[in-house]
Amino acid sequence: MRPRFLLARPLVLLVLTWIVALPNFADAQTPKRGGTLRVSYGNEIAHLDFHTAPGYEMMWVAMNVGCGLVNITPDGKFVGDAAESWTMSSDGLLYNFKLRKNVLFHDGTPVDAAAVKFSIDRLMDPATKSGMRSFFESIHSVEVLDPLSVQIRLNQPYGFLLHMLAAYRTGLVLYSPTATQKFTLEDRKQGKPGSIVGCGPFKFVEWVKGNQLVMDRFDKYFVPGLPYLDRVVIRVIKDPVTEMAAFKAGEIDFIASFSPEHVDTLKAQIPTAVVLTGKETTPMLAAMKVTVPKDGKPMSKERAPHPIFGDLRVRKAIGCYGIDRQEIVKIAFKGKATPWVGMNPPGTLDTVDVNHLCPYDQAKAKALLGEVGYGPAKPLTFELMADTEKSVFNVIATVIKEQMTRIGVTANIRLVDKVSWMNTTLQDGPWDMYVEDLLSLITLDSNGYLSNSTSTWSHPRHNDKRVDELYARYAREMDVPKRKAIAKEIQEFFVENMYWNNISGSPFYMVAQPWMKGYTYNAEFEVHYDKVWLDK
């Protein structure tokens, strides 16, 4: 028989091990200061003038170098950034922001009401050519009340001002008036040392296009103790296989946007990888062109119905009943997305499930096409454009092509590069249908500039003023339940008219090493490294 003390020994050892390990465990939960976070971006940063540069990659730099008035949490709550508090007048026309006392730009100048006014005025100035300008159209003026109080006066009530200031594209990024006036736009675009001056947790050090961007801790950041990291180095690795290799080898700590089709491989290859994902906020759509220029001149205000999709019955036959969204999601996204016909993806504020309005129904699709005169004697053929930016577009286009043959329709795929797609769609060029995922939507309101009748970015070029009226009503409504009702109306209206033909949401993935702690996932909207620390 085994002596009892021998049996007890492993237990004692276990307890001792636990006691010894306890301080380390506690350490692991206490943020550690220092270290360099190595981040990988899949795309190049366009340039560094935060108010005008396109692309998420720039935005994710702007959010860390810059600060704004407010931020938004993943559950939709607003937290102060440079503003410590804010109030709204009862008529919804005045917003007063009280600024924190100790906020400094990286050049040492104070973040005061004048800087806030300067930044908003700059964004609203047409000469700046900011992509944010359309979001600021509801603002009438900005007034400095005192050095730490600023008032935003609106033209009409706007229920999404805080959303907009926090997270429409970059949100409001405050610019140092001193630095902005000292350096030219070209200096900022190129990232000339000294020209990129924000008030965020990290100060810009350098950017070598095609190689790396470096940010260092700003010691005078207004949140005591933050950031934890000494440095953030952002590298551009375009190939997902190389990205995976670099991650597995421990050369990078964080992949800011990882290709969905490689997620399963990554999980199998690197079981320790922390894959971050959440609600789908990006729409994947198969857009159909509704009108064409009557006089043949692109962008002409005189419109005629598109020869194929100008007829609502064809749009509904093809986009609504002819597309099997479940099948597309199963094949293109391996089931990791939500089939979703509504224009607002499932993760966007005020989204409504309107899938029941478009059940997959081949017979109904054929009947509608027959009504228009299409059938075996007069087969319908259209062109389906997909761009090469993401392989998933081509996969979706291929599945749609197959689904079209089931209803006697021929879809000819045209594969183009991203710039050609942008060129064709933005400039009212000839196209019938395209597959693309567009901007992530934090609110339905933020989709207005992609889908109202006057927007350049409304590729289908419908000219239905009812859409504009619905958007305007939605934006002005301050009562949340009423606003939700309008949101439902908008989404149903879009499906009924097929002005916006959604296929699904589009999943978004980030990947972190197990030693990267403190990061809060908030999709593409907020990528902040201020609370990140390295447990190694």
Binding site: K129, V241, N423, T456
Partner: protein, 324 residues
């Protein structure tokens, strides 16, 4: 000789002009222009028209080319429409990376090709020859990106980061940044896999060519004479046979520079290298005309100068060749 070099240098001018003109016209014939990307989310038709006017994109192509050329003569390579950065500054930052890659991949090619070809030629129709020929065939057949991925799988993923897959470290003295790593050892680690990926294909071509050349030379009378004089095999092979056999190989090496620049685009993308290849492909995708012109000009210059250098090498390899 001097007259010859001068004449060849003068010939470079129309060649480069022709290349840059063709690229200029082709780029503008491709759908899309940089204005769409420049304006991004702020795109409006009015702003696009203004921007095209501002950058002279509405002018006839020949006029645009003339303006570009006139600036070039003054040393101005233009400014990137998208980034606002001077093109010359950008290409000069990236040139050392690609130059290093090309030189080292050619070195890799020669290190593999020369011994393999010599062994193959001296031991014709033996297992060593068959092996060298087979390896050459495999090398020719596998594209650079595939070799690159295999190397990544083995040395970066399989061996737990034995060789780094990305995060370029510059050669000391070539680092254009404030905060970049620059060390000889770090650089060697980073460049090894890309150089092998790019060099193996070239090695295969050179092996086959040099082997055929060697076979021809070692059967020539002067080699037989050298052996008959009692010279040992080493000087016969290296001093007499190899030097002459190298002439067609050197010609092909010069021509391979063009392929290496093309291959560099793929390899640099795969290994996330900040070189001219990635610069060129990004510029083409974004329709950044000025950058594409800078890239085309530099690669055209590199190609013609390398070929001139190759022609001049002949005089060293074969003293009978004289340029007048």
């Amino acid at each position: 000789m001097r007259t010859y070099i001068l004449r060849r240098l003068l010939q470079i001018v129309p060649t480069v002009l022709m290349i840059t003109f063709v690229v200029f016209v082709m780029m503008r014939s491709v759908p899309g222009d940089p204005v769409v990307a420049l304006l991004g989310d702020a795109y409006t038709e009015e702003d696009a028209i203004k921007a095209r006017d501002e950058y002279g994109l509405n002018k006839p192509i020949v006029v645009q080319y003339g303006i570009w050329l006139a600036k070039l003569v003054r040393g101005d390579w233009g400014v990137s429409i998208l980034t606002g950065r001077p093109v010359l500054q950008d290409v000069l930052i990236r040139l050392p990376v690609t130059l290093e890659l090309i030189v080292l991949s050619m070195a890799v090619a020669l290190i593999i090709a020369v011994p393999a070809a010599i062994i193959g030629a001296l031991r014709q129709n033996t297992w060593a020859d068959y092996m060298a020929t087979s390896v050459a065939m495999i090398g020719v057949s596998i594209p650079e990106f595939f070799i690159g991925i295999l190397l990544l799988l083995v040395f970066s993923i399989g061996l737990g980061g034995f060789l780094p897959s990305s995060g370029w470290i510059y050669l000391p003295g070539t680092c254009p940044t404030l905060v970049c790593g620059a060390s000889l050892w770090g650089n060697a680690q980073h460049v090894l896999m890309p150089a092998i990926a790019l060099g193996v294909g070239r090695a295969a071509i050179l092996t086959r060519l040099l082997r055929a050349s060697m076979l021809e030379v070692i059967r020539s009378e002067y080699v037989t004479t050298a052996r008959a004089k009692g010279l040992s095999e080493r000087p016969v092979v290296f001093k007499h046979a190899l030097k002459n056999a190298l002439i067609p190989t050197v010609t092909v090496m010069g021509l391979q520079i063009g392929f290496l620049i093309g291959g560099a685009i793929v390899v640099e993308t795969l290994f996330a290298m900040p070189g001219l290849g990635t610069f060129g492909i990004d510029a083409i995708i974004a329709r950044d005309y000025q950058q594409v012109q800078g890239f085309a000009l530099l690669t055209a210059l590199a190609f013609v100068i390398m070929n001139l250098a190759v022609d001049l090498t002949y005089t060293f390899l074969d003293p009978r060749i004289r340029y007048a």
